[in-house]
Symmetry: C2
Subunit: 252 residues, 2 copies
């Protein structure tokens, strides 16, 4: 299917150059043309429900009908391309694609970019996810998963550096928990966790630096594996909560 008739889409955009503000006070931030066009295109794509693969009008046609320069349209499309909403091929044109929920997050999930508050939120989010994830794990776990997890735990237990080196301990910690996300069978959740690692790593170091008490919960990784093998989702949830107690106890 090809996208035709953009009439409703184009309506009176070319005439209204500036944002309309009938009787209201002037807004603080005047929205740039790029943002307006971006929103306009997004709304259009939402209203008419295009299938992935449908083709869009060319940039020039869009620009002419919207009454803006091709540059503006290109900047808007560049943003949508980043989000995965559209794709473009050299001579074919632009197509609808299925957006990637995490493509935006992926770019900015970094301790050197995010603020302290955002990182705190993310760290809490991680705790929430790991406790709430239990049900998914029990629905989708299989024997080889548990075996692999057991192997990870054994490697950790036999690593002599684990007692002394924080980095080593962190690496094992991350490997274990990462595998849980993988087992969840939820690709988005799994990818999110892997993106979250730098922030997680940063927060853990901060934590160990300030408190100087890397006290662990009474539930070990090994206990968790055992619960996963022969326990219930309900038990695993509470054990995970217990395992994460050192982190929960720092919240306020």
């Amino acid at each position: 299917m090809n996208v035709l008739s953009f009439q409703c889409f184009y309506q009176k955009f070319a005439t209204n150059y500036h944002i309309a503000m009938s009787s209201k006070i002037k807004p603080i931030k005047s929205v740039s043309l790029v943002e307006q066009v971006e929103q306009r295109i997004l709304e259009f794509l939402k209203e008419n429900r295009f299938k992935s693969g449908d083709s869009l009008p060319g940039e020039i046609e869009l620009a002419e009908n919207l009454g803006v320069s091709r540059n503006i349209v290109r900047e808007s499309l560049s943003r949508l391309r980043m989000l995965g909403v559209v794709e473009s091929k050299k001579r074919k044109g632009m197509f609808i694609a299925e957006p990637d929920i995490l493509s935006g997050i992926e770019r900015i999930m970094d301790p050197d970019l995010l603020g302290e508050e955002a990182m705190q939120h993310i760290f809490e989010l991680r705790l929430v996810l790991e406790v709430g994830m239990s049900e998914l794990l029990f629905i989708r776990k299989n024997d080889s998963d548990v075996d692999n997890l057991q192997e990870i735990v054994d490697r950790e237990a036999n690593d002599p550096l684990c007692k002394t080196d924080l980095q080593t301990r962190l690496a094992h910690e991350i490997e274990f928990h990462s595998y849980l996300y993988k087992m969840s069978g939820n690709g988005t959740l799994n990818r999110f966790q892997s993106m979250l690692l730098p922030v997680f790593h940063y927060m853990m170091q901060q934590e160990s630096k300030s408190a100087a008490q890397p006290k662990r919960g009474s539930i070990s990784h090994n206990d968790l594996v055992e619960t996963l093998r022969s326990g219930t989702a309900y038990e695993f949830r509470e054990n995970m909560r217990n395992h994460l107690t050192p982190h929960f106890s720092k919240l306020s």
Copy 2:
């Protein structure tokens, strides 16, 4: 602090117009200049740790030193602006800002844009969050929160339409659960949930359409409020899990 000395940043970018592929096979997707520049700028911002508010070089200077046109730089910066990594003022130039983790998601969280798999992942994610959220609620709840929640539940119980109209039932359902996120004290989590609503709404309608059995768990909203008032985080977690049983039971 002003950003000076971009030497390391600019290094041999102007010379290498195309991506280097020394001995490897040609990649499937040749990365566009915009993406390269976007990545380069992001890396630069990560490596040197700028405070929010630091000023960046102007577009023209960036373009010249990177060996690309101003258009390319502008498209890249437009993306970063969308993510909230940078902000720009008319005569001042561009500044570092604290990125918004959810700005990308906000734009695409729509049933008409996302694919079925993505929506399934998001729906599962919602279940995970609400079960895992319990601890945050008990850490941050206060009396007025519980009262407000009780009021929401009472309104639901006294709404006669609740028995017959699916939309009404959904509205109450959403109001209740939304308030829980608000109570979590985690702004990012709360905003995420509000963005998630359209997808949630869509999935619930799909569910009620297919199964025609809107059977509820044995735990009601009223039970959850009571648990929140005088129970423990542990009890609330399990009650919430029970409340969501109709949804969990459809997973595979």
